[in-house]
Structures are given as C-alpha cells and as structure tokens.
Amino acid sequence: MPAPDPELDAVADALVAAGAGFVVVGGFAVIANRFVRATEDIGVLIPDDEKNDRRLIAALRGINGVRQRDGEPLTDSHLHGHEHLRVLTDAGLVDLFRGGAPPLDFATVASHAVTADYGSVSFRVAGLRSVVGFKRLADRPQDRLDLERLREIHGELPIDPIPGLDD
C-alpha cells in the first residue's frame, strides 16, 4: 500500500505537542537549505534519550503511526535501543534516526540547526553543514544531486570531517 504524502506540519505539530526533541533532516532539510524539491518522507534525527523516545512514540501514535515493516501499532520497544524506526502515519512516512558520532550526533546537528517558524509551531531543521555531512555519508544518486545543487546555490559547501569516511 502506498504511503500517504508527507505532511510536515502535521508531524511537527504532533512531535512538538508531545514535547519531543528532534531535528528534521532528509529531503525537508535540503528544501530548508534553499534547494526546493519534492520529498516523499519525513526524516527526523533524535537524541539517545529513553524519555524522549517515549514522547516520540506517543506523538506518532496520535497520528495513527504503525511500524512500517509489519504494520504493528507502535510501542516503546520499537524505538528504545534501536538506531532507526520507519513509521507509517496518517501524515506520511516518518523515518526516525538516532544521531551518529560527531559531527552527525544529535547535539552537534541541533546546534547548527535553523528554526522553521510555522506560526503555531516552531521546530528545528538541520543546517547546511549537517545536511552536507548526511549527504556525503549516504552518497546515493539523489544525495550527490542534492550536493551538486546546494553547491550551485551556496558556493563552496562547509565540510566537517566524518570519522571513518574522511580518515
């Protein structure tokens, strides 16, 4: 069954209302950094924090989130201790990613984030140097295209060394 198209405002509303800490990454972060393109899911970077995990799960349950791979209604155990969870919600597909090692850890990405002000709700979106780091790490065709377009828009891109990739 196809996933509904992503509704960033609905997902952000739910996460903010639950008091969850998160930073939007993925295609929406590319858009926020001035390369406007469509995206089919909502990538969310999350800290390594059990209490926050529970808030995220409660928020996603509120928009009828189920685990995408088997359709199971969400439980805390689907996220706690896991590096990734893909959730199918009424507001589209949401990919939750645990932060990595610096500079792609949650604290560093959050410190470089920009704020999206949607009127009733504000939330953080990964800034350019973090987006560049994620794209360099993933290195799929779409990531390479994103980097090329971001370079055309911004000029020389900020590059932070990624352990294991640049050493």
């Binding site: 405002d9 932060g99 920009v114 999206a116 294991g164």
Partner: protein
C-alpha cells in the same frame, strides 16, 4: 556514562541502508501507478509544502548560515 545507542549515521552500515532504500523504492513504485492528474495534484501539494518550509526558515536562515 551509559553506552551510546547504535546509529546508522556512521560508515559501515551499507547493507542496512541498501535494505531501507529498497523498501522506500518499493513504496515509491506503488505510488507511481496513479493517473497523471493525481500525480500532478500531489506534486503541486508537495511543492507548496516545500515553499512553505523555505519561507518558514528564511528569518533565521541568514543568521545561522556558515
């Protein structure tokens, strides 16, 4: 200090990424069967959403750009 949870956002998880990307590709193909009019309507909605996000970060963008 407690041990950090595992993360896919580090080198060395290529197989897991391949699996996730393939899964997303399957979802994308399912969605591409829609009639052209429906695809255009969805594209318009996604584009409008993208523009809304662009405008929503503009006030802070200039201050935080490296």
């Amino acid at each position: 200090m407690s041990e950090r949870a595992p993360s896919l956002l580090e080198p060395g998880h290529e197989r897991e990424w391949e699996r996730l990307n393939a899964e997303k590709q399957r979802l994308r193909l399912d969605a591409s069967d829609a009639p052209v009019g429906e695809l255009l309507r969805r594209g318009q909605a996604l584009s409008a959403q993208a523009m809304r996000l662009r405008r929503a970060v503009e006030p802070t963008d200039a201050r935080t750009r490296p």
